[in-house]
């Protein structure tokens, strides 16, 4: 479904990604794990068109999207949920969701989707007229995911959904991720929390300073000594 080949991305003169290649099949959850500054978020930003690669190609369902503008990539069904719970702070929950459906013009459809989101995230329904900035961290994270889902993505790029959340909330978020996947959305997940990420993902790639060093099944990697040493602190 998604095929990334030899991706080279620079911030000015600094090379953030050094020839990354990976793929994602329809219906999969694939995790990118790695330390700070490894290039995980950069990878997602490049896929969603917010950043441009200097070299390499990204194909989505066989279509080349490397140089497409971000809004067209959204229309193709790739939605990026940026890290750090970036909601529209001065808009209400409802309006945030509405913004998520920016690419959809069918009002009835949007209303139905919002209803669905409220069923999936009852907390958001309670707070639908509250300003986004006044939500708690966990609620904000749910809102960013819900907003991402509003445009019916085929592929969801999730950037550190568990960042800065209490353990209980992290569990909840990962449950949500699994449900979303079961309902047919493929997910590319970037995480620091390797244990959780590997537990929910079919396959995973480990990125270190801009290159992929290890790849494999989620379960296998969990058993891999070097991963455990490097990221799980055991």
């Amino acid at each position: 479904m998604l095929k990334v080949e030899n991706l080279n991305v620079y911030y000015g003169v600094i090379q953030a990604l050094k020839g990354i290649s990976f793929y994602l099949n329809q219906g999969e959850v694939v995790a990118l794990i790695g330390a700070n500054g490894a290039g995980k978020s950069t990878t997602l930003k490049t896929i969603s068109g917010i950043m441009r690669p200097r070299e390499g190609s990204i194909a989505f369902n066989g279509e080349e999207i490397t140089s497409k503008p971000a809004q067209d990539i959204v229309k193709l069904g790739i939605v990026h949920v940026p890290e750090g719970r970036r909601i529209f702070a001065r808009m209400t929950v409802l309006e945030n969701l509405y913004m998520g459906a920016f690419t959809i013009n069918d009002k009835a459809q949007i209303n139905q989707d919002i209803q669905e989101m409220f069923e999936r995230f009852p907390r958001l329904a309670e707070r639908k007229n509250q300003l986004g900035g006044t939500l708690s961290g966990g609620e904000q994270q749910m809102l960013t995911i819900a907003r991402g889902l509003m445009s019916h993505p085929k592929l969801l790029l999730l950037d550190e959904p568990s960042m800065g959340l209490a353990p209980l909330l992290v569990d909840q978020i990962f449950e949500i991720i699994q449900t979303i996947n079961e309902q047919g959305t493929s997910i590319l997940l970037v995480e620091q929390n390797a244990q959780m990420a590997l537990a929910v993902s079919n396959r995973a790639y480990v990125i270190e300073t801009g290159t992929i060093t290890i790849e494999g099944d989620g379960d296998d990697l969990l058993k891999n000594d070097s991963i455990v040493r490097a990221y799980l602190g055991a």
Binding site: S48, P69, E95
Partner: protein
């Protein structure tokens, strides 16, 4: 007795003392007392001093303010806790005032003309400060007593108000104010009949007032209207889309000049029809906005602010340059600019012009309001909140910003046309950077992102200085003080933006429905 309370009393006294000394040194005491005098229906003839009573009242008001301030800060349960700090407050304030009177009094007595050193301190104003007493010592004692007593009175007033009255009054008054501003006003205005009556009343007012109050007020109000237009225009790009434009005046100037060159007899003698020239001028402004945005709006950050800042200066200097004198009229500007016509008839009397400006303001405010509620408006707002996320939700941030800037420039062009046409003259000095700064200020004062706020801001910034002509020399000082106060009291502006909530929730909510029914 808490030490902190004494300190805050001391501080309040010191601050107000310094302010008072400063006000006296710049000669404001006379102006302030004069204003009070006028307020009580007793205007001071020129070249005479206000009556002694008003001077005392002015000083006392300052002290009362100081005293109530320290009472507010200390917020005691019993008045006895307040007594000592307030005495310190009043004492310090009184001492500073008395010292000032003593020093200047002795100078006058010794025959020194203080004006050689402090321009604004005339012998008459010193006499006024000394409460018309001749002996400096007497004056100092009187002032000390006055300030201490008045400070004490201020604290007492505030205490009584705070303890016994404020609860009741506040509950009724401020809840009313709050709700008038918000929900009740909404429910009132949402009632169709009330709405139409209010609308009819406003229209009648718009129609009759300009005929009655004379050309001076029409001129002032016309300027306010033009600034409302500028405010609404700038608000599109800066208030809603969050992209700071500092050199907004350039679009204003381009609109004004395009229109002027097309309608004035000199230097080109095209003498085009008003409405056609207006359309062309607006289009040219919009085009310039578009062209400026094209290379910059892909970038983030403050590039737009800096580029427009530079552009505004370039435009002004070009208009002024000798090189272009034959084309733009140079430093002399353009005279005899065409006025509006309506079905061939001349429509350019001051009354007619104010109607034209009203109509344009209403039109543009309506369009801007519709835009804000549209998909485009929401995209703008999303860009302001977070550009990356806006991109990630599928908004074409570049074209949205470009549209905002183009529309914004077009509105500025329209304002420029009205401005030039009304004054029948425009020159480079009408388009200095101060205009942009004023527009940004009025937006901030009124409330960024809010059209009613902008209207109030324009009234305050362009209308108020006219009212402040009373304080002539201190117009800008008073104005600055008002702005600072404004920022302290209402940091989000006079009418902070309340985003238009979706009236009908997208999702039917049974609970809400039940509430509505009840």
């Amino acid at each position: 007795m808490k030490k902190a309370n004494l300190v805050s009393g001391f501080r309040s006294g010191l601050v107000f003392g310094i302010v008072l000394v400063f006000l006296f040194l710049i000669g404001f005491l006379e102006t302030g007392a004069g204003l009070l005098s006028k307020f009580f229906g007793d205007p001071v003839p020129t070249n005479t001093l206000p009556k002694l009573g008003y001077v005392i009242l002015f000083l006392a008001l300052m002290a009362i303010w100081s005293g109530s301030g320290s009472s507010k800060k200390i917020n005691p349960d019993r008045f006895s806790e307040l007594v000592l700090p307030v005495l310190v407050n009043g004492g310090v304030l009184g001492l500073m005032t008395a010292l000032m009177a003593l020093i200047f009094g002795n100078y006058v007595k010794a025959g020194v003309d203080v004006r050689n050193y402090l321009v604004a301190v005339s012998p008459a104003s010193i006499k006024m400060l000394m409460l018309n007493l001749t002996e400096p010592v007497q004056a100092a004692l009187a002032l000390f007593a006055l300030m201490t007593v008045a400070t004490f009175l201020g604290a007492l007033l505030h205490f009584v108000w705070n303890r016994h009255l404020s609860e009741k009054v506040k509950r009724t008054v401020s809840s009313k104010i709050e709700s008038v501003g918000q929900s009740k006003m909404m429910s009132l205005t949402s009632h169709p009949a009330a709405r139409y009556i209010a609308l009819a009343g406003a229209l009648a007012l718009f129609f009759f007032l300009p005929r009655m109050w004379g050309s001076y007020w029409n001129y002032v109000l016309g300027t306010v209207g033009i600034y409302i237009l500028l405010g609404i225009g700038l608000n599109l790009i800066t208030g809603w889309t969050g992209q700071l434009v500092i050199g907004y005046v350039s679009f204003f100037g381009i609109g004004a000049y395009t229109f002027s060159l097309l309608t004035a007899p000199e230097p080109h003698a095209i003498m085009m029809n008003f409405w056609l020239a207006l359309l062309i001028a607006v289009a040219v402004s919009a085009l310039v906005g578009f062209l400026i945005g094209l290379p910059i709006l892909n970038l983030r950050g403050d590039y737009l602010a800096i580029v427009t800042l530079g552009f505004a200066e370039i435009v002004r200097i070009l208009l002024k340059s000798d090189l272009l004198t034959s084309f733009t009229g140079g430093p002399r500007g353009i005279r005899d600019i065409g006025g509006p016509t309506l079905f061939g008839a001349d429509f350019s009397s001051d009354v007619n012009f104010i109607y034209l400006i009203f109509v344009m303001v209403i039109l543009i405010a309506f369009v801007a309001n519709r835009l804000q509620r549209s998909r485009t408006g929401r995209a703008w707002e999303a860009i302001r909140e977070d550009q990356t996320v806006a991109k990630a939700t599928g908004i074409n941030t570049f074209s949205s910003k470009l549209l905002a800037l183009t529309l914004s420039a077009a509105v500025a062009g329209l304002a420029g046309v009205l401005f030039a046409s009304r004054n029948q003259f425009t020159g480079p000095e009408d388009h200095i950077l101060l205009v942009s700064i004023n527009v940004i200020c009025l937006m901030i004062v009124g409330g960024v992102g809010n059209i009613p706020g902008i209207i109030i801001g324009a009234l305050a910034l362009k209308g108020l200085p006219e009212l402040l002509r009373e304080v002539s020399n201190f117009r800008m000082l008073t104005f600055g003080a008002l702005l600072v106060m404004m920022m302290l009291i209402r940091p989000d502006g006079f009418l902070p933006a309340r985003r238009p909530r979706m009236k009908r929730p997208m999702v039917e909510d049974p609970q809400e429905k039940a509430e509505e029914g009840a």
